[in-house]
């Protein structure tokens, strides 16, 4: 038994080394020559031609130096990984919402990205006045909840502050006719989270999870808790909390939580995604530019009913890779 285990560990490490080398090589070849003097971004993302690339960040709107520092890291990473748009998880503006606040807490901070035509798609948090839906750079098009399609991915921005009948009906109607390969939902409150301050929003989960499962939502991105957390897949769905874009709640992830696959609550962070066919790569980067989590989610099938053994390949911060396979069948909720 011991020998078998040792052999497995060796195989995993060698596989990891191979992948890391591949990624490093790819990143180096793609990094522009005139990159900033600071340490070059280290990508674990494959940078495939024609792939869909985006970022996700939440709870940003503080206007503080640390928010700006993280935004600068995003800019640096974009030089190596030209992402097209950014999903905002809400709490886009803390405190007052005068015109100068939009500037100080958003447009000044992300000026470089905005100037380079990076689009932001926002959702409303519990600190956001709903009238933000009309602010052009948030691209909400006057709507509290909306759907956008990018390549083979459909994105659903939901207003988790106010999940009323109209929104639930709209979501079900949209999901039921959605034939996209990937369905990504994002909202402010997390259906799953290990935060001591807030934690899982079970009320929201009770309403949304059956729809997510029934209609094959693959990934759910949220904020509200001010840290990064990758949740162990729940009913075949990958939940992420990425709520440390401007505020940090240090040490707030419950260490005993059975939900956590990977957590990072010691600095601000953002996420990068790359969708290549039926694979969605992700990388999580801290304010200091370090990779704190990365991996790839496989979308094995187009419909939930046929999805029985989803796989995720994960690279953790110390570059140890491992493969997780769910042998158990996913039970259908409906």
């Amino acid at each position: 038994m011991k020998r078998i285990l040792s052999l497995l560990v060796v195989l995993m490490l060698s596989s990891s080394a191979g992948l890391s080398a591949l990624y490093s090589q790819t990143a180096n070849t793609k990094t522009p020559v005139n990159a900033p003097a600071r340490p070059s971004p280290r990508l674990t993302l494959p940078l495939k031609d024609g792939s869909l690339r985006f970022a996700a960040i939440g709870d940003t709107g503080t206007g503080t130096d640390s928010q700006r520092e993280l935004a600068n890291v995003m800019v640096r990473y974009r030089s190596a990984f030209p992402f097209e748009f950014v999903l905002l998880m809400g709490d886009n503006l803390y405190g007052t919402e005068a015109a100068q606040d939009f500037q100080k807490k958003f447009s000044d901070v992300y000026k470089s990205l905005l100037d380079n035509q990076v689009k932001f798609y926002a959702t409303l948090g519990n600190h956001d006045l709903p009238i933000q839906i009309n602010y052009e750079p948030f691209n909400m098009n006057g709507k509290e909840y909306y759907r956008i399609k990018k390549g083979n991915v459909a994105f659903y921005s939901l207003n988790s502050n106010y999940m009323d009948q109209k929104q639930v009906k709209w979501l079900e109607s949209e999901l039921s006719k959605d034939t996209s390969d990937w369905k990504v939902a994002f909202c402010h409150h997390p259906p799953y989270s290990s935060g001591s301050k807030h934690g899982s929003d079970k009320q929201l989960r009770e309403i949304l999870e059956p729809l997510f499962v029934k209609y094959g939502v693959n990934v759910v991105l949220t904020g509200h808790d001010h840290f990064y957390e990758r949740i162990k897949p729940q009913k075949g769905i990958y939940y992420f909390v990425t709520g440390a874009g401007g505020k940090l709640r240090e040490g707030n992830i419950k260490t005993s939580s059975p939900l956590t696959e990977k957590g990072f609550d010691t600095d601000l962070s953002f996420m990068l995604f790359e969708v290549v066919g039926n694979q969605m790569y992700f990388q999580v980067i801290s304010r200091t530019g370090e990779t704190v989590d990365s991996g790839v989610i496989a979308n094995n099938t187009k419909s939930r009913s046929a999805r029985t053994e989803p796989k995720i390949k994960v690279h953790t911060a110390n570059a140890v890779s491992h493969r997780i396979t769910w042998a158990s069948k996913i039970k259908m909720a409906a």
Partner: protein, 198 residues
């Protein structure tokens, strides 16, 4: 077939039916409530909804006199619109007072509905969502804006689905145990009821 077999079969059928009904029961709750309303409750809700509609009518008249807010607005346009809408509506509703929209019978219906839901659900979880918001010191004043700096309580989704539905321009919002009606676009407190939550 023995009685024991029959009993086991019935138990299996009951468990199946119970399990099946529990799926998606939340989204059906409101519909069930509609069907099971007493005439008095129906009248109370109708009255409440009529008052909300009257508010929307007045609001629309006020809004139509303002420069239109585009969905592609700048920060300055958003701020200007919000403030001018707030001022114009406050003027139009001068003299409005608590209970103008939350009629007594409607408020009682809402209190009962919330209590029933809290008794059915995980009360601690619901109360955690409502009470964790840092907004308890907000002065409850009709026709005044909800303080801009204060966070907006998330309305627990399972509660929201059971309450009388509102047009998109008006939102329910908890402040402690009290419930407010707030205008979405100008943040004015339209009305409030005390002790909405048990």
């Amino acid at each position: 077939m023995t009685w024991k077999t029959v009993n086991i079969s019935m138990l299996v059928v009951c468990l199946f039916v119970t399990g099946w009904n529990s799926l998606g029961s939340t989204s059906q709750d409101a519909q069930k409530t509609d069907q099971q309303l007493s005439p008095a409750d129906k009248q109370a809700i109708n009255e409440f909804e009529t008052r909300v509609k009257n508010y929307i009518k007045l609001r629309t008249e006020v809004r139509d006199k303002l420069p239109k807010l585009s969905k592609d607005s700048t920060a300055e346009q958003v701020e200007t619109y919000r403030k001018s809408f707030e001022e114009a509506l406050r003027t139009a509703r001068a003299g409005s007072k608590r209970g103008d929209i939350f009629n007594t019978a409607g408020s009682n219906y809402i209190r009962r509905t919330l209590k029933t839901e809290l008794d059915r659900k995980d009360k601690a979880e619901l109360r955690k969502i409502v009470f964790e918001a840092e907004n308890k010191d907000i002065p409850l004043r009709v026709n005044y804006p909800y303080p801009e700096k204060k966070e907006l309580t998330e309305m627990p989704a399972t509660l929201l689905l059971t309450l009388p539905q509102l047009p998109k321009e008006v939102k329910y919002r908890f402040v402690g145990r009290n419930m407010l009606l707030v205008d979405r676009d100008n943040n004015l407190i339209i009305d409030y009821m005390t002790d909405a939550l048990p």
